[in-house]
């Protein structure tokens, strides 16, 4: 069914003068102006600003991303400095973009000794698509998506992160670990 727009609206003399509507528009924009002008003051003074002023003064002002946010994947580092990863290679297989490269190393596996760990663990963020499949595939709670998304750089080669760059203490990842446990428990892995 065709939809017709009635373009022959009879306007009163008052409406046709456009003055009240113009004044309304001016009022709206100047209200926004003052609202934003004073709304940003708390930020410059270093305090929390009104939540309703949703514009973020970006590089200086950062927002807390929700815990479900998928930033760059990082490796969990145990308290003793070793990665939690056992170099099983599941993330490497799960990765749809083939950006993970793992070379395992192993030892005798006696008490208080690590049996397997990654000798080389590279993630090329120039290729990574931030899907989170590696995190989902990991059986050891070793790889997690962080909230860091500021990884753009001028040299593509520098985007290949090595193990040392990827390691993050496990204490910093507690919230995300909790979240993934809740999340993936639904499918009963």
């Amino acid at each position: 069914m065709a939809y017709y727009v009635n373009r022959n609206i009879k306007m009163t003399w008052w409406e046709r003068s456009y003055i009240p509507e113009i004044l309304k528009g001016l009022l709206l924009t100047s209200r926004r102006f003052f609202y934003n002008l004073f709304g940003f003051l708390p930020f410059f003074l270093g305090t929390e600003k009104d939540r309703r002023i949703f514009t973020v003064y970006y590089p200086e002002e950062q927002v807390q991303y929700p815990i479900a946010y998928r930033g760059r994947p990082v490796l969990a580092q145990n308290e003793d400095g070793m990665p939690a990863c056992v170099a099983c290679g599941l993330c490497e297989i799960a990765c749809p973009a083939y950006c993970i490269h793992i070379e395992p190393a192993e030892d005798s596996g006696k008490q208080n000794q690590y049996e397997r760990w990654p000798e080389v663990f590279n993630i090329d963020y120039a290729i990574c698509i931030f899907c989170g499949n590696c995190e989902e595939a990991c059986p050891e709670e070793a790889i997690f998506m962080s909230d860091d998304c500021e990884i753009s750089m001028l040299d593509r080669k520098k985007m290949l992160y090595t193990k040392e760059q990827l390691l993050v203490p496990v204490a910093d990842l507690q919230k995300r670990i909790e979240f993934t446990r809740n999340m993936y428990a639904k499918w009963n892995y």
Binding site: I22, G25, L26, L28, T29, S30, R32, F33, N36, L37, I53, F54, T55, Y57, Y58
Partner: protein, 358 residues
């Protein structure tokens, strides 16, 4: 004689300093920031000196550097001479107008009468209009000499729009002249010492019509058909780059200041504070001696004057960022069918009232 010369030079430098060196650059920043705040944006703030951004104020310097270092491009088939002088013709009248605009009253400094106006012409108001109309030549020549269809269309629209609205402006001014009985801008300013004799109360309709017409003269949005980005690329300055483009831009901003100043003088009490006569102010600062009190009052008056100018500039800015562009025929309709009869009626009513009061 030397003293007079020095005083005049100081006034000229003050006006040039305020308009060219202060208002024109600051207004580019204000326009960016104000529009940003109105639209929930942040606005330009990335230009920094040693990591210090100063809310984007350094963008002024970046802009100036960019304009001075860019290639000065003259298109093939353009008339080189006219293409070069067009921006000058557009910019100079905007500055010249300030020659007759008083930014303060008369003060006795060191036993000498100082009149805060560069040249106190008897036909000051006429001079303003004569010079302001000259700017049209700059725009028309700019469009014609560029050898570009869009530019030519833009300059033709400029010409027609200027002609249409200059009529309204002139006729509105007649009402003001009838009320104040003088063309001398300093006298018009002095008369408005009495708050109830401000132009906006004597000529309320004239105030709005003059404001509308002067925005149209300045070719800013609601009336920016001559440079309509979505229709004509950039109108008459499509083919300009570098500092020539910057001169058109500066002309626009200086014209904004001019409009603010003329509006202030004609309708908004010039340099006077409501209900505070110059004599009262002088008596407050009597303990400073004649020169001291005059100096203080002069500074107050100049400050008040420019505060009012800033208010009018601010109104022009919010209008520019609130309203959409009028269609070309709507502009002509507004100019010839609404504002022109209204200004004629304004003259009639003003005349009748003056006749009745006498």
């Amino acid at each position: 004689m030397w003293v007079d010369l020095i005083i005049t030079l100081v006034k000229i430098f003050f006006i040039l300093g305020v308009t060219v060196a202060f208002f024109a650059p600051i207004l580019t920043w204000v326009e960016r920031k104000q529009s940003a705040l109105m639209q929930d944006r942040i606005g330009a703030n990335r230009a920094d000196i040693l990591g210090f951004t100063a809310l984007g104020l350094f963008h002024i310097i970046a802009d100036a550097l960019k304009m001075f270092t860019k290639e000065d491009f003259i298109p093939d088939g353009a008339n080189k001479v006219l293409h070069t002088i067009a921006p000058i013709i557009a910019l100079v009248p905007a500055l010249l107008t300030f020659a007759v605009v008083p930014f303060g009253g008369q003060y006795t400094l060191f036993g000498k009468e100082v009149n805060l106006v560069i040249s106190d012409l008897d036909v000051g108001l006429l001079f303003v209009f004569a010079i302001a109309s000259l700017a049209t030549y700059g725009y028309v020549i700019a469009g014609w000499s560029s050898n570009n269809n869009w530019s030519l269309l833009g300059s033709m629209r400029t010409a027609s729009q200027m002609i249409s609205y200059e009529v309204t402006m002139g006729l509105t001014i007649i009402g003001v002249l009838m009320v104040f009985g003088t063309m001398k801008l300093t006298e018009i300013g002095a008369i408005q010492e009495d708050f109830l004799r401000w132009g906006i109360f004597l000529q309320p309709l004239g105030f709005f019509m003059f404001f509308t017409a002067s925005i149209a003269e300045n070719k800013r949005i609601p009336f920016d058909a001559p440079e309509a980005e979505s229709e004509l690329v950039a109108g008459y300055f499509t083919e300009y780059s570098g500092i020539k483009f910057g001169m058109f831009f500066m002309a626009e901003f200086i014209e904004m200041v001019t409009i603010g100043a003329i509006m202030t003088i004609l309708f908004f009490g010039a340099w006077h504070i409501p209900f505070l006569t110059t004599a009262t102010l002088l008596s407050w600062f009597d303990f400073l001696g004649t020169t001291g009190s005059n100096l203080v009052v002069m500074l107050i008056h100049v400050g008040v004057f420019f505060a009012k100018v800033v208010l009018f500039i601010w109104i022009q800015m919010i209008v520019r960022w609130t309203l959409p562009r009028f269609r070309y025929d709507q502009i002509m309709n507004l100019g010839w069918k609404i504002l022109l009869p209204l200004s004629l009626a304004n003259i009639l009513v003003t005349g009748l009232v003056i006749l009745a009061l006498n």
